[in-house]
């Protein structure tokens, strides 16, 4: 069912002055002449419109501007067309059915057709979207602004019959290509891939695109080890999309090539909504299933997967300490990491031995791409507390929440150990850093906790660091979810607790052709260090007035990018000790890109070279103590990693 780009030559009708009229076949139109009363739209009449006398400027839109279109009564298929200017709005045809119909929502995203005008307008159009009017759907035009954009002009929308109606079909995600080459299976339903991606580029653009992005990756992607590991496969997969027969095959293939790099900074978030059975407010961690190993043996190379915490209002029957044994017959980590060809959000550590990213995302993946889960439930209270039942295998479709849920953030933390509100304690949702005396400590003992996920600026940390400098005798840095931040902020942060040192150089995004190509050894690394000596690229940490008498325990579970740098800066110090899991090995920067229709992606770029000339991308920082949460501890509401760190603080206290 390959999609060919809407032919701009057949859209609208133009007069000699360059004014457009709607086509006779249009089922619904919008001139934007009088739409100013709608939220997000301002009518503009003092500049020439594409059609009619006025157009609309979309701005101050909180979310999306939304226009409900004429009612569709039959089983039909439509294409939408619109002219836009001075921006890249994300425009969608949105077909929503009453919940009682059981029909999944369908959305088609608009992309440029190539038609432009001398006064800055360009045409965008959707792929054909089927509409089953018999089920009384609401068909709407949704317009959102791209990130960072303040406004965009829109004019001349028409909805034209095009394509053939195709009903929604069900699918089995465990089968190969369950929806053919032009769609994907999510929540047991086939989704039309073409509706969410740009059209298939015509030749010669298709082959030029492949050559162009081949050169982007070859010139700008990665560090020394990540290029050697991932680039050959990615380039090979990129070459293969030249022969794609549909927009979905082409763009899914392009993003799949990027995902095959398996790089922490390389991301291809889908520009379309991937439907789920429903929320799955359950968080998992890598753990040690000491309470259920006799029931289900552990994998020799992958950690066990345990429930860390759940939403407080809905938990789908899961509780802290339960174990996820398998998904569709495979170890949960192997299953999750095998979804790259399905899951546009796939996310990997650079270090191939690190799997925390996959475990963190299970709550997203299971209700979309799994058919069955095998679970061990355990007893948390009463005389049989700490014991576990037999393995149960249940269909994921049966694990549905009722009504809404407050949700929960998966942060690899079974508990928060500083004073927080009940809401934060229940959801693990917080913005800035959390700081305070550890719940298990006293003012006299003086052990504090600092909990954060990302550090883009030192400023929000200043009050905590000031208190820590003044009052603390020891501190637990709970960075078990390490989203990174900026290297400059990490440098500033370390000035509180470590002696000064220049540890190496961060090359920033890769900007020298062939810099990291093989052979690259210590000689080449030292040449990079020498070239960047004395520049802002030096990773300079610590300060002369740092509190090097302060014992610092750094907790790590999933840490990448600037969080890798923090772990690196914390190594080899007698008063600082790291607990938890190896970091992601993403000691680089990245390059972000944005195309049309909300299609954005990025890839890692650069490397970190230490003073010996060794590069660090792909090599996560090994913690001083590799500690996994124990199932028996989770069942008793104990936090294994935190307790180990606290014990170390206490052991060293004078």
């Amino acid at each position: 069912m390959g999609f060919s780009a809407p032919n701009s030559a057949e859209a609208f009708v133009w007069d000699a002055r360059g004014k457009a009229s709607f086509s006779d076949e249009a089922f619904a139109t919008e001139s934007f002449e009088n739409v100013g009363a709608r939220r997000g739209f301002t009518v503009v009449g003092d500049e020439p419109a594409i059609e009619g006398e006025r157009f609309a400027r979309v701005r101050d839109v909180d979310g999306e501007a939304y226009l409900v279109l004429r009612e569709v009564k039959d089983a039909s298929s439509f294409v939408g067309r619109l002219f836009v200017r001075d921006g890249r709005p994300i425009v969608r045809l949105d077909v929503r059915y009453p919940e009682s119909s059981g029909i999944a929502r369908r959305v088609a995203v608009f992309h440029p057709t190539g038609a432009v005008t001398s006064d800055g307008w360009y045409e965008i159009a959707s792929a054909p979207v089927p509409v089953d009017g018999r089920a009384r759907p609401t068909v709407a035009l949704s317009i959102a602004l791209s990130p960072g954009e303040a406004s965009a002009d829109v004019d001349a929308f028409e909805l034209v019959p095009d394509g053939t109606f195709r009903p929604v079909t069900t699918c089995d995600p465990t089968l190969p290509s369950p929806c053919g080459d032009d769609g994907y299976c999510a929540a047991g339903v086939c989704h039309d891939g073409d509706g969410g991606v740009p059209p298939l580029p015509p030749e010669p653009d298709r082959r030029r695109f492949v050559a162009y992005w081949r050169a982007r990756l070859d010139t700008f992607y990665g560090g020394v080890a990540s290029r050697a590991r991932g680039l050959p496969t990615a380039l090979s997969r990129l070459d293969a999309i030249s022969d794609a027969k549909s927009g979905w095959a082409f763009w899914h293939g392009f993003t799949g090539a990027l995902r095959s790099l398996r790089d922490w900074h390389t991301l291809t978030p889908p520009p379309f909504e991937v439907l789920a059975y429903g929320p799955f407010p359950v968080c998992f961690v890598e753990g040690d299933a000491d309470a259920s190993r006799a029931i289900a043996p552990s994998d020799p190379s992958l950690a066990d997967v345990l429930v860390s915490h759940t939403a407080t209002d809905q938990s789908l029957g899961f509780a802290s300490g339960d174990r996820l044994v398998a998904v569709d017959g495979r170890h949960p980590i192997a299953w999750a990491e095998g979804l790259d060809d399905v899951d546009w959000n796939a996310w990997h550590a650079d270090d191939p031995t690190v799997h925390a990213e996959a475990v963190e995302r299970l709550g997203y993946l299971l209700p979309r791409f799994a058919k069955e889960v095998s679970i061990v439930h355990c007893i948390r209270s009463g005389p049989t507390a700490g014991t576990c039942g037999a393995v149960e295998t249940v269909p994921v479709a049966s694990l549905r929440t009722t009504g809404t849920t407050r949700g929960v953030v998966c942060d690899h933390r079974p508990a928060l150990h500083v004073p927080v509100t009940s809401d934060v304690a229940g959801t693990h949702a917080f913005g800035g850093p959390l700081f305070g005396l550890l719940r298990e400590s006293t003012a006299a003992e003086g052990f504090y906790g600092l909990v954060w996920n990302a550090m883009s600026s030192e400023d929000p940390f200043a009050p905590a660091l000031a208190t820590m400098r003044r009052d603390a005798r020891g501190v637990v840095f709970d960075h078990r979810r390490g989203d990174g931040g900026s290297i400059a902020a990490i440098e500033g942060f370390t000035r509180a607790f470590r002696a000064p040192a220049s540890l190496g150089v961060a090359t920033n995004p890769l900007r020298t052709v062939g810099l990291f190509d093989a052979p690259f050894g210590a000689t080449e690394g030292l040449a990079v260090v020498a070239a960047l000596r004395g520049t802002g690229s030096v990773f300079a940490v610590g300060a002369a007035d740092a509190r090097t008498d302060l014992r610092v325990a750094l907790l790590l579970s999933r840490a990448g990018s600037a969080s890798d740098f923090l772990a690196h800066a914390s190594r080899g110090l007698a008063h600082v000790r790291t607990f938890g899991r190896r970091t992601s090995g993403a000691l680089s920067s990245y390059q972000a890109f944005e195309s049309t229709g909300g299609f954005a992606f990025q890839f890692g770029s650069g490397d970190y070279v230490d003073a010996s000339g060794a590069t660090h991308v792909d090599h996560g920082v090994v913690p001083d103590e590799d500690v996994l949460p124990r199932q028996s501890d989770l069942l008793a509401d104990r936090d294994t990693v935190h307790e180990r760190a606290l014990a170390w603080l206490r052991a060293g206290a004078p």
Partner: protein
């Protein structure tokens, strides 16, 4: 003009002669595909910023042409695959984040505004830079060979200023600076220099092409910086930047971009100079983005709020 069941398309190309010729084609003749301007094949469009003009620059009457049409590749110029610019024509650049082009304005990064459609010479999108702002385009350098850089800069039409902008004069290429800079330096080293490219006016366009041969920069954080010189741009006026190409001298350069040029001029960056201040500011701002994955995990848009995947 319209007949049921048939499609009639009046097709316009961007020259005054073609507009006149096609006036008789309105209505009854289905436009053959060949009358469309091919994708990015050296299209010359009126270069005003969204002003309703015809190509001789006069203001049209009601009966005159409001706009002309053309087709472009939405992916822009891809016929130079080894282009050392990360995204030479802005088609894969967004308004914020660590994008191929970033704007420094009012001591902060971005957001980067864009012109679109026929206002840009390649693809459907180009960057804008206003008074007091600098636009930085990411570019790679060969390890040891020189490389040739070429950037198109559209000058503002005098009439494009907002009504309250006050008097404005036509800009020339001499009012614009295009330099190769290292945003990783940030140390005020008195031996630091930037490489300045010379601009030449493009015939028939209110635009310039800045070109030059750049010396290689090993392991540096390279950008090409575009800005208007102080006191040349008023409020509401901006430069358009597009179609940037850089290639090693060992690669053939697209002949349409002009003849070979001389080496870029080395300009010392003296501590405290305007260039030094601008570089330090940009370096510090970009440093705040490096390694920032929190902003890197981008949402596809605001229409579909979702949990972190």
């Amino acid at each position: 003009m319209r007949r049921p069941g048939r499609r009639y398309v009046a097709t316009f190309v961007a020259s005054s002669a073609a507009v006149v010729a096609l006036a008789s084609a309105c209505g009854e003749t289905k436009a053959p595909p060949s009358t469309f301007v091919p994708s990015d094949a050296g299209v010359t469009m009126p270069t005003t910023d969204a002003s309703p003009t015809i190509s001789d620059g006069s203001v049209p009457s009601d009966a005159a042409v409001i706009r002309t049409r053309a087709t472009r590749s939405p992916m822009g110029r891809m016929d130079v695959p080894r282009n050392l610019f990360l995204d030479g024509d802005f088609e894969f650049t967004g308004a914020s984040d660590l994008m191929p082009w970033i704007l420094v304005a009012d001591d902060r990064l971005g957001p980067l505004p864009f012109s679109t459609g026929g206002a840009c010479p390649s693809g459907i999108r180009c960057g804008r830079v206003g008074a007091g702002q600098e636009l930085y385009g990411a570019v790679a350098s060969p390890k040891s060979d020189a490389f040739r850089v070429s950037v198109w800069v559209g000058l503002p039409d005098v009439r494009s200023a907002s009504p309250d902008a006050g008097p404005s004069r036509a800009l020339t290429c001499a009012d614009v600076t295009v330099n190769l800079v290292d945003l990783g330096q940030g140390n005020g080293d008195p031996e630091t220099s930037l490489q300045a490219f010379e601009g030449r006016a493009l015939e028939g366009e209110n635009a310039c092409r800045f070109e030059g041969l750049a010396a290689p920069s090993f392991a540096r954080f390279l950008y090409v910086a575009v800005a208007a010189k102080p006191d040349t741009l008023g409020p509401g006026r901006f430069l358009r930047v597009d179609d940037a190409v850089a290639l090693p001298t060992t690669d053939p350069f697209p002949s349409a971009l002009g003849p070979a040029t001389s080496a870029a001029r080395r300009v010392p960056v003296l501590p405290g100079s305007r260039e030094d201040v601008a570089l330090r500011r940009a370096s510090a701002l970009v440093a705040g983005l490096r390694g920032n994955a929190a902003s890197g995990r981008r949402s596809p848009g605001v229409a579909f709020p979702r949990s972190r995947p």
